[in-house]
């Protein structure tokens, strides 16, 4: 078997990625989903009075939209799992930081009013 492990064997300039079209069906499906969720956001905003539950629904819908944008439009669903993890795992820590600081924010409110 022939191995190419000398520098220069891997020709970055003439590199041609292996690409094939998966058709537009999934893309249009994602579009209608995103549009549907946005319309649902709009409807819920007026139908439901403001509450923690409503905020939860909006954030949940936001994460669903993010899943479809990153997964289908940015093609991350079809990339190697290693790449997906490298990108997604740090974001979990960011979510942790956000929820932690929201909690501390309410504590700041209490302290300011003392």
């Amino acid at each position: 078997m022939e191995f190419y492990n000398k520098p220069g064997d891997y020709d970055a300039i003439n590199y041609i990625p292996h690409t094939e079209s998966h058709g537009t069906k999934e893309l249009w499906k994602t579009f209608w989903l995103l549009l549907g969720i946005t319309v649902l956001d709009f409807v819920i905003y007026f139908v439901m009075p403001a509450s923690g539950w409503r905020n939860f629904i909006f954030i949940f819908f936001g994460l669903v939209k993010a899943y479809y944008i990153v997964g289908a439009f940015m093609h991350l669903k079809h990339e190697k799992i290693n790449l997906a993890l490298v990108i997604l795992v740090p974001m979990v820590f960011v979510l942790g930081l956000i929820s932690g600081l929201l909690y501390e924010g309410s504590a700041l409110e209490v302290m300011k009013s003392m």
């Binding site: 022939e2 020709d11 003439n14 990625p17 079209s21 944008i69 940015m74 930081l97 600081l101």
Partner: protein, 256 residues
């Protein structure tokens, strides 16, 4: 070319991390775009952390709404002066951005089929969508500043009277602030709005510039000669990221 296939085959027989090939099966440029987007995601996260902390430390109290209700401020629509139309304009902006995301991904798909004419056509649609979004944002900023928004102050705090007044009007009714409806609110409100939507708008602007450059390269046949349209994919990754950030700006600044 002939060498290319045998090189590729030899790499595939190597252990993943033995070097000489991408362990993630993506090209250098695409991987670097992903790493850049990750760092950009951190940048936007810091802004959202700041926004969330400020907002939670200025919560709604029974007497006055300390943090301004977005429905009371972003309730304008072009050519419908004086009507109370909360969330409508920003939903249109969201729709424009989703639509331009689809045309972008269709350009990427056309690139996979190496169809130059289709790539060019969908890139034009995407650029038009981006410019339309930026125009909407310019109008939004203009209206907000016209209403009195400043970086160092906030006149959008609402009194109990103002809150009742706002709740008494329905969607599409005539609405005008009365004397004593509004008071001073937490200072960072408008500043955070300008910084976050401004930062996002600047990303949209640079995305449009990138798309224009890529469009010109497509039309001039650069990618045709190169043999692949991967540059469209890289520009697309950036463009979709901008859409992704907007999903969260829309959720946290307008819906909640």
């Amino acid at each position: 070319m002939a060498n290319h296939t045998s090189t590729q085959a030899a790499f595939e027989n190597q252990p993943t991390w033995a070097g000489g090939r991408s362990p993630f099966n993506v090209s250098y440029g695409k991987l670097m775009m992903w790493i850049f987007l990750l760092s950009d995601a951190f940048t936007f996260s810091t802004l959202l952390v700041q926004y969330g902390t400020q907002r939670f430390s200025n919560v709604v109290t029974p007497i006055t709404t300390k943090w301004p209700d977005p429905a009371s401020i972003f309730n304008h629509f072009p050519f419908m002066h004086g009507l109370h139309l909360p969330l409508l304009f920003v939903s249109v902006m969201t729709f424009i951005l989703i639509l331009s995301s689809v045309t972008m991904v269709l350009a990427v798909e056309a690139g996979h089929r190496k169809s130059k004419a289709e790539v060019a056509r969908y890139m034009v649609y995407t650029i038009i969508g981006g410019i339309a979004f930026l125009s909407c944002q310019a109008w939004e900023w203009y209206t907000f500043i016209h209403e009195g928004a400043r970086l160092d102050g906030n006149t959008f705090g609402i009194t109990k009277q103002g809150y009742d007044h706002l709740n008494s009007v329905g969607f599409g009714d005539h609405f005008e602030w009365a004397e004593g409806d509004r008071t001073f609110g937490p200072v960072p409100f408008a500043a955070l709005f300008f910084i976050v939507t401004g930062f996002h708008g600047f990303h949209v602007f640079s995305g449009v510039v990138i798309n224009v450059v890529v469009y010109i390269m497509t039309v001039r046949g650069v990618f045709e000669r190169r043999g692949h349209y991967e540059m469209i994919e890289k520009a697309g990754l950036y463009w979709h990221f901008v859409d992704l950030v907007w999903v969260f700006v829309f959720t946290f600044f307008y819906l909640i």
